[in-house]
Symmetry: C2
Subunit: 232 residues, 2 copies
């Protein structure tokens, strides 16, 4: 991969604790691939041929249930390792990944994983941390869905997106990739109708501002109070 | 740890790919600790001082929300590594673990983790697989809670428990540790009342049999059809 500046990727969490030479050797085995907006990176149940690091753009990871309902699992932001199904002991991808904007990823063939890890154990140590924080996030969602009203779940989902991919603008924090009300519905286990009703009410209160494929949080503090009402 | 027969633990998934000498060296740093029924192994938000492998018994892992609601995250079965908060980049335990029956665990001090992994990279490779399969499980729960009616969620939860900890008996598959209707409610994001109503109906249909802290699946095939109704 001679075309990529090593300094761009040496700071990624997956390379923490590795020396420059090690990072160079690992990068040498990767290809850099462009995924135009709307392109599929991999499909659910497809053979897990590769693992990836997102360099630029945003991906939506989604899963379809046996009876055809779709759920947004998460969004991948730059710097993240993803598609490590094989490292997790699977032979196929458990979900699909799709570029929501023009995106670029580093791509390694899956069989390189065990060999790279044997040579650079820090890779595995870093991957556990990544998978571990996704596990925490998934548990948080389970808990929210078990215990919270839909309004609080939507507030939590927007705050998480703002933290992951927020860009400060004139009118608050904008979520820095195209996101629809349907996406929010699939992230919070509710319907498009309910999301629309709640976002409209929040717009009237000056909390958020949303349009086609666009959400801004105008008053993060008030949204936080909705997500985490003070006890007592 | 001279009192423990190495052959008892050499087959554990966390030691896959390691030689006898390596396993011996890793075990030498562990203590074996007994947790009588009802004892706490660790508490949510407590300093993550140790990581563990369950040798015998069953643990309930649960999380309390800021407003005091409790959710069962999962049950730990023998052979599982748990409490690896530090490996996941945390300094505290994200949940509490409690012995639901008399249990025994191997216990390592958390600071041993990075050192053991540097020396035995297979440990990290195996831990990613464990954390990865928990992530799959958590996503499955998120998807069930997003898309399924409560009856299907309860059917799925019972089938998963039977797979994890089922013991074949005279009257079907018994879940091999004390489990209450409240536990099932906290695992499926519903109320005790709803679980009781559904389990009573299933008892009338000869699908399950349940008593105080005890659930048996009398007709796994029919329960499976409720969990995964044939398409079309």
């Amino acid at each position: 991969m001679p075309s990529l500046d090593k300094s761009l990727v040496a700071d990624l969490p997956m390379f923490a604790g590795l020396g420059d030479d090690d990072v160079g050797a690992i990068l040498k085995e990767a290809q850099s691939i462009r995924y135009p907006k709307g392109a599929s990176v991999f499909q659910q149940d497809e053979d897990a041929h590769s693992f990836f690091v997102l360099l630029h753009g945003h991906l939506r990871v989604m899963k379809v249930t046996p009876d055809g309902q779709q759920v947004v699992v998460r969004f991948v932001t730059p710097g993240e390792i993803f598609g490590i199904a094989m490292a997790m002991g699977r032979t196929t991808y458990p979900a699909s990944a799709l570029a929501v904007v023009d995106s670029v990823a580093l791509v390694w063939p899956s069989p390189a994983w065990p060999r790279l890890v044997a040579k650079h154990p820090s890779l595995a140590v870093n991957a556990i941390q990544t998978v571990g924080s996704r596990l925490q996030e998934a548990h948080t969602r389970v808990i929210e869905m078990s215990t919270e009203q839909v309004e609080r779940r939507i507030a939590h989902a927007l705050l998480r997106l703002a933290q992951q991919a927020g860009r400060k603008g004139e009118d608050g924090i904008q979520i820095d990739f195209p996101i629809s009300r349907q996406d929010v519905a699939e992230m919070t286990g509710t319907t498009l109708h309910t999301v629309s009703r709640i976002l409209s009410a929040w717009e009237d209160q000056g909390l958020v501002d949303s349009g086609r494929q666009r959400i801004s949080i105008r008053n993060p503090h008030k949204l936080f109070l909705l997500a985490e009402p003070p006890a007592g």
